[in-house]
Symmetry: C2
Subunit: 221 residues, 2 copies
């Protein structure tokens, strides 16, 4: 991931910072909703649940958008972060696998409000086709290629059972999708250049269980 144009100084933002930018974005939106127009790094850090030094360092990777002695303009900073993340326009998204979880995802209002637009719901089960979920008609999985082509879809969401996930991922990649959010509890293998992020409920619970066990077993509070 090197070799850029000389003019485009491509600050490469650390991955840990990238993962926090959406949190800052949401915190800024919350502040704006409260009518707050200016905030200090301390205020924003509190709202985002991080420490203020980290926040300032994170923001410094984007540029110098604050004013010393004053703080940050909420709307301006919000726009700058949104631009950096790339959510100033909507990204088209397809969801494959309309089971319980797929239903929930399709109905999730946060997509629309945060820069994403569900352009299609796909499922291999013919019993679901023509049904409406969240106001969108479920279509056959085989329509994937066409939908990706017509809507220029780059991001796919997988909410199928584990055994089917790799096949779906392969088809997505072949169709031109290059970012995948995977809810299936399995390791996906994809070619280089394709990003996969996974969300795994039982892993999160197991991590909690580990710490819980330690609490119970270790010192008595």
């Amino acid at each position: 991931m090197t070799a850029r144009t000389p003019t485009d100084a491509v600050r490469d933002i650390p991955e840990a910072t990238v993962a926090r930018l959406p949190v800052y974005l949401r915190a800024l939106t919350a502040l704006a909703d409260q009518g707050i127009t200016t905030c200090s790094s301390e205020d924003l850090a509190t709202a985002a649940g991080v420490n203020s030094a980290k926040l300032r360092k994170d923001l410094s990777y984007l540029g110098s958008y604050g004013t010393r002695g004053v703080g940050y303009d909420v709307d301006y900073l919000r726009y700058q972060i949104a631009r950096e993340i790339g959510v100033t326009q909507d990204w088209p998204v397809v969801i494959v696998g309309i089971g319980n979880l797929g239903h929930a995802l399709a109905n999730f209002s946060g997509f629309r409000s945060r820069g994403f637009r569900v352009v299609a719901l796909l499922d291999a089960d013919p019993a679901l086709h023509e049904q409406q979920v969240a106001g969108i008609v479920v279509r056959p999985f085989d329509d994937l290629e066409q939908i990706v082509r017509e809507n220029d879809v780059a991001i796919g969401v997988i909410s199928v059972p584990a055994f089917a996930a790799q096949d779906v991922a392969d088809r997505m990649v072949a169709a031109g999708i290059s970012s995948i959010l995977n809810f299936a509890p399995t390791v996906l293998s994809v070619p280089p250049g394709v990003d996969v992020r996974k969300v795994d409920l039982s892993i999160e619970l197991q991590i909690l269980a580990y710490h819980e066990q330690r609490k119970a077993h270790g010192e008595p509070v």
Copy 2:
């Protein structure tokens, strides 16, 4: 309870390792299902999607459960990891907020099979009470304290809208819950000693969007 015996030298396992142990556990289960009884660190690392040096280092924090020149006994290692995580018995879990996502969580079979048992579904909306979801009757949120007490619940799942999440968390903590898995898109503040992990769909998508934008903008593949 008791302090640890001097021999039990309280290995504190790095957080990064803890987060991977469940992945290894699942990979081992997959291998066992294929009838494989022994595997090398290379095999397991491939199945888990990590590099073998990292895997061996992770396992070394637990103890020395492999055999040089041979590899790991799948069942034995699986048991050791399960024991370390604390999922050799079931953890009782309550889910609060039975909307679309709560439905999906209640029906998620991975809970049961990975060391967790949903003991109650709670919702503040009376319209849902007495309804069955995934074979469990939805009960009023006010039953929380009683349920936690009677079932010795330590882990709670929050799948309510963002505006209600902090209240639910406060009530959970007051009831004695000390680990929370939060699906609401908001920062929870909890007293020290309480663990919170969050799962946030739009944040994951925004991280993908950031990288996607870079791909499109940077080199032409």
